[in-house]
Amino acid sequence: MNRINIVGAGLSGLSAAITLAENGVPCNLISLQQSERAQSVLAEGGINGALNTMGENDNTENHFNDTIKGGVFLADPNAVDGLTKGAPGIIRRLEGIGVPFNMKDGEIVLRNFGGQKKKRTAYARSSTGKIIMSAVIDEARKHEHSGMIKRYPHHEFIRLLIKNGSCTGVRIRDSYSGKFADFKGIVILASGGLNGVFPGMTTGTTQNSGDVTATVFSQGVILGNLEMLQYHPTTVGISGKRCLVTEAARGEGGRLYIERGGEKWYFMEEKYPELKNLMPRDVVAREMFFVRRDGECGDQVYLDMTGLPEDTWKNKLSDLREEIIHYLSIDPKTAPVPVKEGIHYFMGGIDTDINHRTNIENLYAAGECACQYHGANRLGGNSMLGALYGGRTAANAIIDGIKNKTGFSDEEPEFLDISDEPFAKEASSVLIEKISEILLGGLGIVRNENDLKNSLEKLSELEKKPRNEREKNRIALAFAMLLSALERKESRGAHYREDFPEKDESFRKSGLAVFDDGKIRIEYREIPERRSE
C-alpha cells in the first residue's frame, strides 16, 4: 500500500498527519511552503471548546446549539455534534503537547467570543494560532524523525490523478527544481481558503491561491455553499492585503462613524441602541455598506478609538496600536482609523460527508478548503477547531479502512521534467484581478439578482478569449460562486440578498456546485436530521 498524501501543512494537514502517524500509517506532507508560513499562524483570538472552567455551567450541547444557530441551520448537525463533543479533548490534547494557553489557578481561562453565550474560547494572548502551530509542528517533527511523516515543503499541487472515478494519487511539482512527480495513493486536501481568488481583499495569506480548489472542481469534485463568504467589518488596507482589526477594539469601546452633513454620525449606536457597535459581524458589515451607499454620507467609515482610556491602550490593545501606527502612520489613540470590510473566512468549499470524504473515492478534504461544520456563517474560534478535528476525522476514516498496516511502500516516486503538463502554467495575474473585480461586483456584502447577472455576463466575456487550463479552472470556479449566490434566493447568514431579504425554509439545504462535462449546475441537498443518541 502507498503512503497517504496530504496536500497542505496548516493545522488541518498537520492534524491529519499526526493522527495517521500515531496509528502506524505513514504519509507524505506536501505544502507550498513550510508550516510556519501557513495561514494558521495568523489566528489570533482563540479556539472553542466547552471545557466549562469558568463556572458558567457550559457543556458541549450549548456549543452545539451556538454553532448550529451561528450557521443558521445549514451545517450538518451530526458533523457538528462530533465537532463540539470532540472539542474539549482537542484543547486538552493541545495542552498536553505544551501549548501555553492563558491560565488561572492551574486551569485554562476561557473568553467570550462573538455569537456564543458562554465563555468558551481558549487563547494564548493575541497569537493563539502561532502558539498552537509551534507545538503542533514540534509534534509532527517527532514523527518526521521516525519516518512516519515525510515532508515535501516546497512542493506545489498540480492535479489529482483520477482513474475510473476514483482518486489514485496526486501530481506535484518541486518548486525549487521545477520537476514533477506522481504520488500514488489516497489523498487528503488541506489546502486552506480561497484567498487568491480575491487578491488583496482578504485577511489571509497569499499562499492559498485557490488553485487547488479550482483544479479539483474541474476534475469533478463537488463544491458546497460557495456563496458563503464571511466579511469581517473592521479591516484596514495595508500593502497587498486587508489587515484584521480585532473585535476587541470595539469590545473595549471603539465606535464606528461616517461623515454626514459635515458631522460624525455614529450610525451603529443610533440604529442598534442596545448592542451598538457590538452587533454580530455580518450585521455591522452590512450597515457599513448601507451608510456608505447613502447619498448623504461620505464614502469612508472610521473606527474611532480616541476615547479609550490610557490603561486599555497599555494593557489590552498595545499590539494593535503599534500595528496601526506602523502600517498606516495613524495613531489610533489620537486619530480615527479608516476601516472597511474584508473577506475573512470561506465557509464554502469542497463538499464532504461527516467523515470528510468527497464525492470521489479515496479523496478527502479538511480544514478551510472543505465545506463542513460552519453552515452559513462561522463562529470565531470554530475554524481552528474545525481544522484540527477535521484533519483528525479524515485520518481516522482512512485508518479504519486499512486492514493491513504493514507493508507500506517506501519508494519515493521519481521527480521528472514534464514539458506538456497542461495544469502547470500559472494563471495570469491580470486575469486573476479581473475575475476578482467581477466577483466582488456580485458577491459583496449585499447582493441582488441584477448585480449577479451582470457579473455572470462579464465573466462570459472573459471566457471567450483563449486561456490556459488554470485560467479556465479559475473562471469555472468563479461561475460556480456567482451561480451559487444567484440560485439561493433567500438571505441566510453571510449571504444577504436585498431582493430576498428573508430566510426561506425551502432553502435550508446545502447548495452544491457540480462540474459535469464542461457545464456547471447548482443542486441542493437536504440537511440531515440529527441522529438521536
Partner: protein
C-alpha cells in the same frame, strides 16, 4: 515616491548572480519592499533601468504582516522581512539594495533554501516525547519561545553559523527553549546535551543576533533560562518536572 531597487538576481544556484536596477514609483507612503516586489511582478512588461524587458522577480511571501517569516531577505545590508521594510525608512538617496539571505543556497533570485534550519530542529529532537503541560511558571518562557518565525535573520548576522556547521544558531536555540522550559525528566539528559552541543558551546556571545529578530523575541531572557538549566543545572523560569 520614486525608488530605484538594486536587486541581486540569479537564475539558479549554479549561475552567477548579477545586480539589476528597476525603478518603482508609488503614491503610498507606507509601501514596503514587499509591495514594490509584488507590484513590479504584477505589471505587464517589467523593464530594468535601461528599458530592457526582464523576468518577474522570484521571492517568497505569505502573510504580508510580519507573522510568517517567508519574506526574509537582506535589505540595504540588514536582514529583515520585506513586508516590514517600508520604502521610506530604507531608501538611501532614492535607492534600496535587495539581496537574498547569504547563509543559505539560492534557489532563484531572492528565494533561498532554508531546509537546514528545519533539519537542525529535527537533529536536536525539538519535541516532547511524552505528554506535558505548560504551567503558569513556564508558560511565559514557552510562549516567547513559540513565537520564532524560522525566518533566518538571526543566522544571517551570526559570525559562528554556517549551513552544515555543528552550531545551529539562535533559530534553533529559541524553539528548543520551549522544551527546556518544561524539562520532562525522561528527555532531560538528551535535550540539555543537544542544547549544549548545538547551541551553548558554539555561541560566541557576541550578541549580534539580538537586534535583528523581526519578531522582537526576547532572546536574552530565553537563553539565560536555557543556559541555567543546561550549563548551570538550575531552573529559572519553569520548574523541574518529576514524572
Amino acid at each position: 515616491m520614486k525608488i530605484r531597487l538594486d536587486i541581486l538576481r540569479r537564475e539558479s544556484g549554479e549561475t552567477e548572480p548579477y545586480l539589476q536596477s528597476i525603478m518603482f514609483e508609488t503614491e503610498d507612503e507606507n509601501a514596503t519592499v514587499a509591495t514594490a516586489l509584488s507590484e513590479i511582478n504584477k505589471s505587464e512588461g517589467i523593464r530594468d533601468l535601461n528599458g530592457k524587458r526582464v523576468k518577474p522577480i522570484r521571492w517568497e511571501c505569505s502573510c504580508l504582516q510580519k507573522k510568517c517569516g517567508a519574506c526574509a531577505m537582506v535589505i540595504n545590508s540588514h536582514p529583515q522581512l520585506a513586508c516590514n521594510a517600508r520604502l521610506k525608512d530604507c531608501e538611501k538617496n532614492g535607492c534600496i539594495k535587495i539581496e537574498p539571505l547569504r547563509k543559505f543556497p539560492v534557489v532563484q533570485d531572492l528565494v533561498v533554501d532554508r531546509s537546514v534550519m528545519f533539519e537542525n530542529l529535527r537533529l536536536m529532537n525539538v519535541w516532547f516525547n511524552e505528554q506535558t503541560k505548560a504551567d503558569e511558571g513556564s508558560a511565559e518562557i514557552s510562549y516567547e519561545a513559540s513565537r520564532c518565525l524560522q525566518c533566518g535573520c538571526c543566522l544571517e548576522v551570526c559570525p559562528n553559523f554556517y549551513a552544515g556547521s555543528e552550531f545551529f544558531g539562535t533559530s534553533a536555540m529559541v524553539p528548543i527553549t520551549r522544551i527546556i522550559s518544561e524539562l520532562p525528566e525522561a528527555q532531560k539528559k538528551e535535550i540539555l546535551k543537544a542544547y549544549r552541543e548545538h547551541g551553548y558551546s558554539g555561541c560566541g556571545k557576541s550578541l549580534a543576533c539580538r537586534n535583528v529578530c523581526p519578531a522582537g523575541i526576547d532572546i536574552d531572557r530565553l537563553l539565560v533560562n536555557s543556559n541555567a538549566a543546561a550549563v548551570w543545572r538550575r531552573k529559572i523560569g519553569g520548574r523541574n518536572k518529576k514524572k
